[in-house]
Point group: C2
Chain length 219, copies 2
DNA sequence: TGACTAAGTTACCGATCGGTAACATTGTTG
DNA sequence: CAACAATGTTACCGATCGGTAACTTAGTCA
């Protein structure tokens, strides 16, 4: 989710940009930051490089001195979003080491917290997937890898929790997580179905931990 | 929004389409059908009217004889998608009148069935919301109304089921539903997290029906 | 036959798209 | 100061965008 942008300090620049340790904000960074915001708000196809450069107080020529193409910028945007996402995930989970159940709950609590921001428009990577065409392979491959990593992490947490069927529980949690992101696109602030995520998470975990009813028979 | 184009030939009533088997398909219908497919596959912003007309075996001029603008076409596309969605919903639910629990299960079973088609790219309305900018108000208002109707229906089903907290249960189901649509964008065929939807639905309903733990809304 | 209509065809418009060339300006550093 | 790198400015390119005008073709029906 696109919230707050940390000014990605340790930046690897390509080619022409020699490393100067000065803390001054490079045009490249300003442009990139602006691009991230605009892509998140208006969608990737809905923002042109001219608009990005202008919004960053620069111009198209300076844009192309820092980025090989719009496509390269988009790729970097998605990578950055993923980087921030894992940082957010790790931060949310960190206070509860060796307590997978509490970690999952903390994750959804953190999601709800972000969802309350009025700048929230759900999952940047997921939204990108929704507007990407079939032929934009490189991008959707990137998003797919990210989503698969989310899934694996949830599986691992469910397994560490000792769930009876960790795959099912992990997948169920992923549905709740992504459902929260998806509905947040439509429902404003804290009034949407995402408010039910945490009770649902608890109920599902309970159902998978307590030795009550076995998994429902296959239809 | 200019809907003044009265050229909406008489086939508006649902049954009239299949009436005349030998009738040649009108250009308008061919174009509209093609547009729906292309919008769904490549996104609304990713398809131009020229491509639509060409794919329909026609040309741009004929397109503008039938549609006032691309925007009008998009609006009609979203309306049609919603119409089809409710028809699908009602069809899935019809075999189980007065059995809200079975209806909900049938709904998710039908969703899973559709998700297995390789042409499935999740929820057309929801995807549109993901790529719509903030300033495209008319469209997102349409999507919002649709999503709110989904939510209300799920609330009603949960209430009819006698759930302890019908709002929470309905919202939880909506998260699962939309999570299924969202993840289906990324995960192919029947291998994604959506396979966990039905077990999750059953577990959640069980938790809300059996006299377990109360769920105070975490306002 | 003639009138009407639906549709195809070609050419065009202004705006915007991603992307580039050439030149002017600034700020830092030796 | 001069050298140099980073950035701003203007103008331009070909392609595509949504949208329109004018003309032609073909089918239908009286």
């Amino acid at each position: 989710m696109g919230g707050d942008k940390t000014a990605m300090s340790g930046n690897e620049s390509s080619g022409a940009c020699a490393a100067i340790p000065g803390a001054k904000t490079r045009v490249r960074d300003r442009i990139f930051e602006t691009a991230c915001e605009l892509f998140y708000r208006h969608g990737i196809h809905g923002v042109g490089v001219d608009a990005i450069a202008a919004e960053a107080g620069s111009n198209k020529m300076s844009f192309y001195r820092s980025f090989a193409s719009k496509d390269a910028l988009v790729t970097e945007y998605l990578r950055e979003q993923e980087r921030e996402y894992w940082a957010w995930w790790d931060g949310a989970v960190a206070p509860y080491p060796n307590d997978p159940r509490r970690q999952i709950e903390a994750l959804f609590e953190a999601q709800l917290e972000i969802a309350k921001s009025n700048s929230c428009r759900g999952c940047a990577l997921g939204n990108a997937a929704a507007e990407l065409s079939d032929d934009e392979d490189e991008l959707s491959t990137l998003v797919r890898a990210y989503k698969e990593k989310v899934r694996k992490r949830l599986h691992a947490l469910a397994r560490a929790m000792g769930a009876r069927d960790a795959e099912i529980l992990g997948d169920s949690l992923m549905l709740l997580l992504d459902g929260g992101y998806f509905t947040r696109l439509i429902f404003p602030l804290g009034s949407g179905p995402i408010c039910a995520a945490i009770p649902a998470v608890r109920a599902l975990i309970d159902a998978h931990l307590s030795g009550g009813h076995a998994l429902p028979p296959p239809r």
